[in-house]
Subunit: 289 residues, 2 copies
């Protein structure tokens, strides 16, 4: 299927989005939302596939949200190619692309923040101040603009998924948040838009993040050796493998994201590590044996 002949409406304004989705809702059709920052890859397409399979209509959004970037440089070099993204979405049977500008999302005098404490305070929250406030504020807006039945989030950003679930529960946003498993390259590297920044040499090193994490997770899952012993060793291995800086390699409860010493309940191993100017994050499940 080439899909080149499919029509994908691209809307820029909230009123247009509402006008387009209201007839669907009135007809009793379900809507699946896939919020993205563009630079789409097979990981995003896994979200779209779930949305099209489970809902009558699939809406994707592309908005590179300045509020969730803690570093200006990261925002300015974030990859963007809307024409290519739109082709991919059309080929994958998306019904609509909502791609608003910054002025549409944050008009003059914008003054709101949706904040979540607890699950947003650990891991990325410690390394990217303000990041999750930016995420929850924009996701809240996107959910209320499109009023989907379900919204799809990748487990690649597991903490984000957890924070969004907490927000939806606490604010009574009428939507089901659906987690979708991380999509990986054959060598284990988690797909990420920022991977395009990796040099060929860095690309060689990158899959070692997942490999080391998998090995450590295996050792942790017996519940015997505490995280405090295994994780520093893992950090050392990542350093030797060529990662220039390791922000964290950490074991947390899968639901509350509390730090864990032993895998005595469903857990998750999280890592953030740098290759030059590019920061990779990943996480995998660690279940008690």
């Amino acid at each position: 299927m080439t899909g080149d002949d499919r029509l994908l409406p691209i809307l820029r304004r909230v009123d247009q989005l509402r006008e387009a989705t209201q007839p669907w809702r009135r007809a009793g059709e379900t809507i699946g939302l896939v919020p993205t920052m563009g630079a789409l890859h097979a990981g995003h397409m896994a979200l779209v596939a779930r949305a099209t399979a489970e809902c009558d209509r699939a809406v994707a959004t592309i908005f590179v949200n300045p509020k969730q970037f803690d570093r200006k440089e990261d925002l300015s070099r974030y990859p963007r190619d809307e024409a290519r993204d739109a082709r991919l979405l059309a080929e994958n049977r998306c019904d609509l692309l909502f791609a608003p500008g910054v002025d549409q999302m944050y008009p003059q005098g914008f003054a709101a923040t949706v904040g979540i404490t607890g699950v947003s305070d650990v891991l990325e929250g410690l390394y990217r101040p303000g990041h999750f406030d930016g995420v929850t504020t924009v996701v809240c807006k996107l959910l209320l603009q499109s009023l989907p039945d379900r919204a799809y989030f990748g487990e690649k950003d597991y903490q984000q998924l957890t924070v969004v679930k907490q927000m939806v529960r606490d604010l009574d946003i009428p939507v089901d948040i659906v987690p979708v498993a991380t999509v990986r390259e054959p060598d284990g590297l988690a797909l990420a838009s920022r991977n395009v920044h990796l040099t060929p040499a860095q690309r060689q090193v990158a899959p070692l993040l997942h490999r080391v994490m998998t090995e450590i997770a295996e050792e942790l899952s017996d519940g015997q050796t505490p995280a405090a012993l295994l994780l520093p060793e893992g950090q050392q291995r990542l350093g030797s493998a060529g990662f220039t800086k390791i922000d964290y390699l950490a074991l947390h409860a899968a639901d509350t994201l509390e730090p864990l010493q032993h895998v005595d309940r469903p857990a998750r191993l999280f890592a953030a590590a740098w290759l030059g100017k590019t920061r990779l994050i990943d996480n995998i499940a660690v279940d008690p044996r």
Copy 2:
């Protein structure tokens, strides 16, 4: 009309509220929401009257929201009489009362805050730390729980109305916020649930707040004498009249709530003043001549 024979369902849980309102929405009926903290009076009934006049269905909520009380004493002595409130709402042709408990609104592990900067930072925001975060968080929840077409707020709490309007705009909450004029006693005192706390002597003094404000507003509206000259004089008059403390008497722009010196655009005169343990607030329009 006695209304005693009307049936007013009282619901305690969000899922019940959704179950009750969804058929209305599906049938294309419009829903008007009147969020209250109970202790209902004619001011609330003016909101209900607008809701029943403009919408097919009127839903009232009663929730004494602990998050918006900055003083524990104020929370504990806040007047409550649900049976009486329910009778009043039934008589006034309300379709439904949603009266959740604190556990339903803020379940174990609740972690969300909706915050608005700017319009919430002046006036009450300076005297009641955290108050507006509590208001916006609960109003956001109530709006998303009931998904009304319109929600009605009294101008008595003009700053609250402004903060809620800002939140609804910024977060794209799909609802129209409808302001309703303050209802007053014949002597000018703005109706307020807390007025029941006034002793007969204090009740005599209370209407002087509105009287002095009206006189000051008259003087301000010619745009000549600056607020900095007229307002201290007004404060002095309130003090002489018997108010035991004046938190503020201040002129602000009607839309942005910026402080004003001259009434060169639609403005609002705000006051907060104490009679013993009871704090009264009021505000009136001051339009340029």
